[in-house]
């Protein structure tokens, strides 16, 4: 499945071809550093109120972190694209599940607006 997939001969002889890409240690440490920075950002940003943008900011930062973990720690960037496709199928169905369920939630919004008016 990899580009570097060895021929039967090379596999039989004990083989020098690697089964999977070895990630450079500087890349792993760099990704960890970026993840720490993003964690600091998401925690410090939570002390400010951006109104309706709050959830958007939190989810965006979390998605950036998740993408880094999936691409580098989980090797998706170096692997066959099909594994990434499998993960994205999961995410797509999560989105479908959420959006169809949320269609109904708008029905209750008058109650939410009443609460927001009371607290302001």
């Amino acid at each position: 499945m990899n580009n570097s997939s060895p021929s039967p001969q090379s596999a039989s002889s004990g083989s020098d071809a690697a089964l999977a890409h070895v990630v450079d240690i500087r890349v792993l440490l760099g990704v960890f550093a970026v993840l720490m920075v993003l964690t600091t950002i998401t925690v410090s940003v939570s002390y400010f109120d951006f109104g309706a943008l709050n959830l958007f900011v939190a989810i965006s930062v979390a998605t950036m972190k998740a993408a880094l973990v999936a691409l580098y720690f989980m090797h998706l960037r170096y692997d066959n694209l099909f594994y990434a496709f499998v993960l994205l199928v999961g995410v797509a169905f999560l989105g479908l599940f959420l959006s169809i369920t949320m269609l109904d939630s708008v029905e209750y919004h008058p109650g939410v607006e009443a609460w927001q008016e009371r607290t302001q």
């Binding site: 499945m1 060895p6 039967p8 596999a11 039989s12 004990g14 083989s15 071809a17 690697a18 089964l19 999977a20 070895v22 990630v23 240690i25 792993l28 440490l29 990704v31 960890f32 993840l35 720490m36 964690t39 998401t42 925690v43 940003v45 939570s46 002390y47 400010f48 109120d49 709050n54 939190a58 989810i59 930062v61 979390a62 972190k65 998740a66 973990v69 580098y72 720690f73 989980m74 692997d79 099909f82 594994y83 499998v86 993960l87 999961g90 995410v91 169905f93 999560l94 599940f97 959420l98 369920t101 949320m102 109904d104 939630s105 209750y108 109650g111 939410v112 609460w115 927001q116 607290t119």
Partner: protein, 263 residues
């Protein structure tokens, strides 16, 4: 790396395959790719498994934002942030362990797996401290029931209502800027808190279960590493456990801001 493995005793398919390749695979590469595809499909089911709770969260938060604004004051954000760092660090050591296995550095594999396990245990201890704080303030939904099961006095049925420490709730909400609550409002807030704590324990509890399972699997892999079972051509167990461990980290990356970080 083939010397010490027990399957060396088996006939070697006329010498055309490495001894650790099962007879139904053409090559080590095919065997490795099959394991990885299977693991990714399992991770897909895990995403869908958690998606039920995330869906519950989304609908509940859209309809009842006040529940989340009130509730998050009762979580310990510094401990949650500490756990996030611990879990991301353990993901790093896990990725380094896979790398070390690929490079035939068995001693490093053992050390890095041990560090990963220690991080997992640290996460669980901190989680335990957080749960204990909730328990001490009677903020666990169903707590009176649970306490009743484990008590010696089985004479009368326990009260069913969620009854947190009212004084504690009032003080905490006042600190958060909700001063001068009358009794009726406070009762409403406590009702909100029960819903929030239900979501909190469901999400973090399911995640903690995954951490416990991950630590268990990591211990098995650690024993295999100590016995020298891994090398540059046979590191599938380390790699697959790593993928699972990263997914657990990935889910926490979403759970942490959704529960703890609500402005």
């Amino acid at each position: 790396m083939t010397e010490s493995h027990p399957s060396d005793e088996k006939p070697n398919d006329g010498g055309c395959k490495a001894p650790h390749v099962a007879h139904h695979f053409d090559s080590a590469q095919q065997q490795y790719d099959s394991a990885k595809l299977g693991m990714w499909i399992f991770l897909l089911t895990e995403v869908l498994f958690f998606s039920g709770l995330f869906c519950f969260y989304a609908v509940y938060r859209a309809n009842n934002p006040q529940v989340f604004v009130d509730g998050h004051h009762f979580l310990n954000t510094p401990l949650g942030a500490f756990n996030t760092v611990v879990l991301i660090f353990s993901s790093l050591t896990m990725a380094l362990a896979v790398r070390a296995a690929q490079l035939d550095r068995n001693r490093s594999v053992v050390c890095l797996l041990a560090v990963t396990i220690l991080c997992g245990l640290t996460f669980m201890v901190v989680k335990g401290v957080e749960y204990k704080q909730k328990w001490d303030h009677h903020m666990v939904p169903g707590q009176t029931r649970i306490a009743h099961w484990f008590s010696d006095e089985n004479t009368q049925s326990p009260p069913k209502k969620f009854q947190p420490d009212v004084q504690y709730v009032r003080e905490h909400l006042e600190e958060a800027g909700h001063a001068d609550l009358d009794d009726e409002e406070l009762a409403q807030r406590i009702d909100n808190l029960r819903s929030y704590m239900g979501i909190y324990f469901a999400l973090t509890g399911l995640h903690a279960l995954h951490v416990i399972i991950g630590v268990g699997v990591l211990c098995v892999v650690l024993i295999m590493a100590i016995r020298g079972r891994f090398g540059s051509h046979r590191f599938t167990p380390v790699d697959m456990t790593g993928l699972y461990w990263h997914l657990v980290d990935l889910i926490w990356i979403y759970v942490f801001p959704l529960l703890y970080l609500i402005p």
